[in-house]
Symmetry: C2
Subunit: 411 residues, 2 copies
Amino acid sequence: MKAAIITIGNEILSGMTLDTNAAYLSQELGKIGIEVVLKISVGDRPADIGQAFKQALAGTDIVLCTGGLGPTSDDITKRVAVKFFKAKLKLDKGTLEHIHSRFAKRGIEMPACNRGQAMVPNKTEVLFNPEGTAPGLLFKKAKKILVLMPGVPREMKAIFAGSLKERLTALSKGMDIRVVTLRTTGIAESAVSEKLSGFEKELAKGALAYLPTHLGVDLRLTISGKNLSVIDNKLNDLSEKITGVLGHVIYGKDDQTMEEVVGRLLKEKKLTLTTAESCSGGLIADRITNISGSSDYYLGSAIAYSNILKEKMLGVKSQTLRLHGAVSKETAIEMANGVRGRLGSDLGLAITGIAGPGGGTDKKPVGLIFMAVAGPKGTVVEERRFLGQRRHIKESAAQAALNMLRLYLLK
Amino acid sequence: MKAAIITIGNEILSGMTLDTNAAYLSQELGKIGIEVVLKISVGDRPADIGQAFKQALAGTDIVLCTGGLGPTSDDITKRVAVKFFKAKLKLDKGTLEHIHSRFAKRGIEMPACNRGQAMVPNKTEVLFNPEGTAPGLLFKKAKKILVLMPGVPREMKAIFAGSLKERLTALSKGMDIRVVTLRTTGIAESAVSEKLSGFEKELAKGALAYLPTHLGVDLRLTISGKNLSVIDNKLNDLSEKITGVLGHVIYGKDDQTMEEVVGRLLKEKKLTLTTAESCSGGLIADRITNISGSSDYYLGSAIAYSNILKEKMLGVKSQTLRLHGAVSKETAIEMANGVRGRLGSDLGLAITGIAGPGGGTDKKPVGLIFMAVAGPKGTVVEERRFLGQRRHIKESAAQAALNMLRLYLLK
């Protein structure tokens, strides 16, 4: 089975909007054995959209389109498809009720132009959109399938995952592919590569990809073949060998995030956590609370951005701030102990540093960070230095602090 | 001037990695009058990369490539280009020193394989990479230009902005384009569209695009032509008319973020802010502290995730929590007054709600939010309801709370 992806909208073509939809769909189709062989981006012009439909349907079995289904006048995809497939529009009552109820839930009257989104072509199947007002539309023509979906990623994903994926899976008879990602942090790409140099021959060609970001290096292992159990065995074997060499620098697998891993450890050990953030400004708390159920182990945080609040909220001594500065080992330790003691948790995680671009000195440059963990096994502190822009430093620092907590919990 | 963009890497082709680079480059090239006419994505195979070079150079004047310049064995772009241009590799001392100093700053020994990144082809110009170890490489051949850049977006952007953009600007003689984005929040796309229905004829065809996200609807106005002052006048005129109709639902222009606008208002009015977050779990603090210099007006936050901390850190009465619940108008008001009074700021912004997926009831469903602002003009409170997943609700809630503070400051 071969597929094409068409993204529609001037904002994609000009780069104003990121083509996240094509990436998501490539990835999801790959998982169910459907190979994407063509990617087209066109603007909001009828002729170009029609031409893209024609070209994509000629070379593939499945064409997935995103974009141009909104309620406003620059949304023309449905109009073009209706003409292309010689269909007619009719009112779909279920869709109209769904649109009404979405506005009602928010306590807003439905604007008149949203009614047009409930008009669907007579030759299509309507795919329910739980996240928005424009439904997906599935056209069939001579064993080929063309699907229109809204361009809003959340809505497209809800339609794909909700009903489309299952349909396409049944259609697919392709090869099996298995992918495992081992997520590392606190180690450079080149250092991982050197540690794994002994395995280069064992790894099938192209099977290992390094995906570095400032949060760590993801190692993606891909194995494909006809026999699923053979593939699975190969993958498990390689995955275990790599884990054996790299050890605790691997914090998780696949889509697992650091906050998920840390959350699981806290839950297992029945420990509660509070945090004290300065330079990361709430990003650690934000990440921890992205995990549903985090209220079981996470009590809260003192974001002590100013020195006064470091004293007031955390009990950092003014003498410590005067002698060693807000960005120091001593302050980090007092913050971790302070938040743990004052807010009453088993563990306290603290971070202080210079996110920049201002505030750096020769002795204490932008990117200098001190992190501390206070808990039943005592208080530990660590110094790190990061390069880059403000946001980048915040993200790197938050990741390092959560990783420090993870390693503390594993001890 | 026409350009092509090539993104190299199996992870782009399979959708594992988002093609943010192509979008960024399209956009930046558009700004300097260079039109992108071709986008190609290929995997990590030498023949495919060579074929992409050939095809792209045949149809355009400028080819920008990203990806495949890392230190590991799956990075082959430079090798293919050296062969393609019949060049030879030589050591570039400046680049080697730069790589050494990057590792030294982090207190790490340079791994041996990074030395390869300092080997550059003899027929190229080296473009400095302030954010990483792989420099950009500019090849020239018969008035055409091909540029290799690393695939890490931050590094690619640093090279483009640092030296490449200026060079390409000089080359370009294209039409002028002006783009203005008016950013709205708290209003549905369809409602904006209805308010602007009187202008549809005035707006040049395709000049207005609606870019909706859950944080608001961006309105992008694009005007192009030969005469820059004519374009500017048209754009200003339209922009003013739209602003006149929509008023305060427009919070900013172009890349301005809500936290930037709120920060500017606080600075102008010489007011300090503290925040008290429950359901948004630090996201508001994180956004505020993304602004460099935010320590001038932002003192910190109490992330009172648990009820105990709502009492302990913010002085919310246990009676209020018992009678009205943590997610209520009454609690939001006490949180705003509490954070302002206890932490000593001019303004207090508080938010409490149910981010889900658990914790909702019939009376208080997932997505229900109360926000309050306490300040010199009294305390105000607002109820809102959002739909969607946990992260989505957190982001919508944080945006709405910051917008509420903005409107309070504008009163």
